[in-house]
């Protein structure tokens, strides 16, 4: 849970503080409430921690950070698996 993983914003979900992000090929809704004041638009990169965007980063940082995270092995694999899991008790 300690990791923060870069993701690219694909679409803002109107009327909410959520957005769909692409995280290493995985699509997930994330909360962008903490970075909204910075102004978030599709195409932006953010650092995601426990489902929340924590800060806006540039594309270069996002790419190198992802490459680095991939060298972390199990810790990164666990985080990606957790991110992909549906909340317990939810179907579809």
């Amino acid at each position: 849970m300690c990791l923060a993983i870069p993701g690219q914003i694909e679409r803002l979900i109107p009327g909410t503080d959520l957005a769909t992000a692409d995280v290493s090929g995985v699509k997930r809704n994330i909360n962008i409430g903490l970075v909204e004041p910075e102004g978030i638009a599709p195409g932006d990169w953010v650092l995601i921690h426990v489902g929340f965007a924590m800060s806006k980063i540039d594309e270069e940082e996002a790419r190198t950070s992802l490459e680095f995270l991939q060298t972390m092995g199990q810790a990164f694999a666990d985080e990606m698996a957790a991110m992909q899991q549906k909340p317990p008790g939810e179907s579809g």
Binding site: C2, M54, E90
Partner: protein, 374 residues
Amino acid sequence: MRFVDEFRDRKIARDLGAEIARLARPGRQYKFMEVCGGHTHTIYKHGIEDYLPQNVTLVHGPGCPVCVIPMGRIDDAMFIARQPGVTLTCFGDMMRVPGGSGSFLDASAGGADVRMVYSPLDALRVAQRNPDRHVVFMAIGFETTAPSTALTLLRAAADNASNFSVFCNHVTIVPAIKAILDSPDLRLDGFLGPGHVSTVIGCRPYQFIAQEFARPVVVAGFEPLDVLDSVRLLLKQLEEGRCEVENQYTRVVPWDGNAKAIEVIRRTMELRPHFEWRGLGFISQSALRLREEFARFDAERIFRLPGVRVADPKACQCGEVLKGVLKPWECKVFGTACTPETPIGTCMVSSEGACAAYYNFGRFSRERMQEVVR
């Protein structure tokens, strides 16, 4: 950067190593503490110490949020999980943390409804989809994670959720650093400041370390070259007789942090008078609890928690490891009775814990090996 482009990065790392060796005065010992578990992970995984001269040592601090939760709080969470109609949700890292009477995994095997979630918002969703259960989220983490819990609480309040609460165990990093500086056990020469915590709180809160304790602080990124570069910056400050807070991780950390994140924490949580940390004991104003206005979402007010203090197992020396007094391999049970599969202490559970990181990546230099087999 960062060892990904092997040839170029190894050259930069060697150059940084050479600069570090030039800055470190022979005959003087330098001890720098990294307070973030992410740094510990990088240091062992990438063998950072191999690039440092013998008189520059990295000491691991209390920056792993899973590791610093005392056993009594785990037992309190188990108590909640055993109440009829209750579902306890937590991050995956918490499942194997041993309490006084087993772990959440054991409780789950014993019939309690304990579920892993990726995000506190997922815990709230579990509550909304299971109106017949009371869903408790066990919140842990430093200032990195607290804003996520805070926004989830605000969401729960906006949705008027009636079957959701938070067992708040959020801690704050600065009082823990101060406790270490106040402790006579260890003399440190500087700090690698935590990267992600600092995206929230910024760099200013560390200024007391430079001003009152005359130790340099460099807020550091997580990649191998970031850590090496930060060690270089610490040595450079010492060499030039400066003690300042520097930000090496400007790509991510703004000097003033994230105002919105700080604001949502303040709206929902307040400092506790004191909180027990594993290994560090009670530290005043070092943890957060829910504000009165959020009492209906506060598991501590909803359930009558035993709140019993549970001493760590005698053999376990996590406390000394968390304070940086012992290196992981110096613990009596490291790698023998205590392994990631059957952890005795928290430092062996989380992949960010110093013991697990050391165990998994086994960076035994020849000298260390001699220490281990001494």
